[in-house]
Symmetry: C2
Subunit: 343 residues, 2 copies
């Protein structure tokens, strides 16, 4: 229990060379079982743990990877971190979580400094950093491998993991159509997330397939937060011919829809159907629980770590989404006669 035993102390106690201890630490193949046992017990006795600093300095790998993010959704990031962490832990890697500000003009320089300082072996990028050009340039220049979670552009550049946002939005929209909705409001996500565009495209594709024209009045800007969901809903409900269902691009905004509906005394889902996207915890705790698309966030993150630790070839992995039906959807409200009117 020496406050700071080093590899030399271990070597002395075990009666072997320093280099041999190093081999044991790194699971080098050519070490006899008896030697390994001696070293292991010496390490245990001294309470030894290797200094990453020295390892970085002497070796070529640091055993650390960075998670670079700029996402303001706590639920989402919590899951991303867990997924990365779990996989890193299994692999004996250390994870360095690095928040950045993609709008900061210095962001590339900042990432570069971080990588140079910490000597991380690789990086995982979470949206919207995945499409932040200065960061991508910096990482390419540094020549370290990185994997992107749900990138929107440059798919060929690096390995990536993602889900099919367009198909998922299409599925959800189709679900609403099948139930009978014809006027479906859509709240876009933050414009700096590529997924926003994809989800909108899926929404429009589904409408187009059944011959419903896209009505610009039924598409609102959003920023993935509660407040923008509220604003968009106010806008929709003030229309002469308001939608019978609202599809928000994430659960936070869908909660905003619910809040406005509650305030106005609009029963959900009887008079207005509401659906979200992501299936964060939020979707379960609001009232009514939200029908939403499950995005396998944690799996995306751990798969990203997988790819980073893997062979190194560029690989793309699509993970399946799932439509989660809860209680926020019902057939459209019809006072008496059924008149469906498009555009």
């Amino acid at each position: 229990m020496n406050p700071r035993a080093n590899i030399r102390d271990v070597a002395k106690l075990a009666g072997v060379a320093v280099k041999t201890v190093s081999r044991v630490l790194n699971n080098h193949p050519y070490v006899s079982d008896t030697t390994k046992a001696k070293v292991d017990s010496a390490m245990a006795e001294l309470g030894f743990s290797p200094s990453i600093a020295a390892r970085i300095l002497a070796g070529t790998k640091s055993g650390q990877i960075a998670l670079i993010y700029d996402n303001h959704s706590p639920y989402y990031m919590h899951q991303i971190m867990q997924g990365c962490w779990d996989r890193c832990h299994e692999e004996g890697m250390r994870l360095i979580a690095q928040p950045v500000d993609v709008a900061d003009p210095q962001v590339g320089e900042q990432v570069r400094g971080m990588v140079r300082q910490t000597h991380v072996d690789g990086a995982i990028l979470s949206s919207p950093v995945t499409d932040c050009v200065p960061v991508l340039h910096a990482l390419e220049a540094l020549n370290i491998p990185f994997v992107r979670i749900s990138p929107g552009t440059n798919h060929a550049l690096t390995s990536s993991v993602f889900m099919d946002d367009m198909q998922a939005a299409d599925d959800m929209t189709t679900h609403l159509i099948n139930i009978g909705h014809r006027r479906i409001g859509f709240i876009k996500g933050h414009h700096n997330h590529m997924a926003s565009t994809e989800r909108q495209a899926g929404y429009e594709r589904a409408l187009g397939r059944v011959g419903i024209c896209v009505d610009a009045a039924l598409i609102a800007e959003g920023r993935f937060d509660f407040e923008s969901g509220v604003a968009a809903t106010e806008q929709f409900l003030s229309l002469a011919n308001p939608p019978t269902a609202i599809f928000a691009s994430n659960d936070d905004m869908a909660s905003g829809v619910l809040a406005v509906a509650h305030r106005r005394g609009i029963p959900i889902p009887q008079q207005l159907s509401v659906v979200g996207f992501d299936d964060t915890t939020l979707a379960r705790v609001v009232w009514p629980p939200l029908t939403t698309v499950r995005q396998p966030v944690r799996d995306l993150a751990s798969t990203a770590a997988d790819l980073l630790f893997g062979e190194g070839g560029i690989e793309h992995r699509r993970l399946p989404h799932e439509l989660i039906s809860r209680e926020s959807v019902a057939p459209p409200y019809s006072p008496s006669s059924k008149k469906s009117k498009n555009a």
Copy 2:
């Protein structure tokens, strides 16, 4: 833009000794302005950034601190991280976020290994790690400074930042009493958080002050999550004489109360008042928005970092809480006659 310029390259280009460059890097007092300028421009030209690995190895400080946590509330942790991060960033420190499992018998050993490996200069502990004995022992043995956020025990041990949980719960309970409530259900927090006990004590103190007996049937176990809020509420509402208000020890559980009420068609706040604790984002996005106690989480975290960077004397800082009134509270429901009955 050499991929890896080192301090020697900088020294050569600037025409000074390596040691002088080191002084500039560390803002050492005895460096002339002209020398500093030469060195700075050389560093800029080479795109130099110092290797923390070498710095750690050679020096006594690493410029890194650890945030050790085991909290399953994404909102809470998100704010804690932000607060720590902001303050560290200002100070030029690197923050290493380290999730642990306080229930793991190995947790002490794990923390010890982490500190030894990363050479962190100090640590910030978030509840419930603040009261995890193996971790406390490990950190003491390692002899590094650490600050605890909202610790429940051993206040003398280290610096800490906290709020007055008991007083806050007392304030909230008193608020409900003042509005007219006499039967107030209380949902406890997770037993491994010391704040749970404090909050319960505040609740009981407030009741006691106005001569209301504590009714064991009106106190339910909880675990700080949505589901336990649901369970506790079901239990309360099945009583012959159910409470007219429910005080949940955090916002997640309060959301559980709302969900049950909505499902049963109980109008809130007209027939049941609901209050939470923490004032996380959740309190604003559920319906109706929750009256709750604002816990200054982010400030707690940045203050913790402050204390860690500060003089080193043991110091305790209490941050103020605030009662946030929203729309989940109203006077108790009285069908016709007003009969208040205690115990």
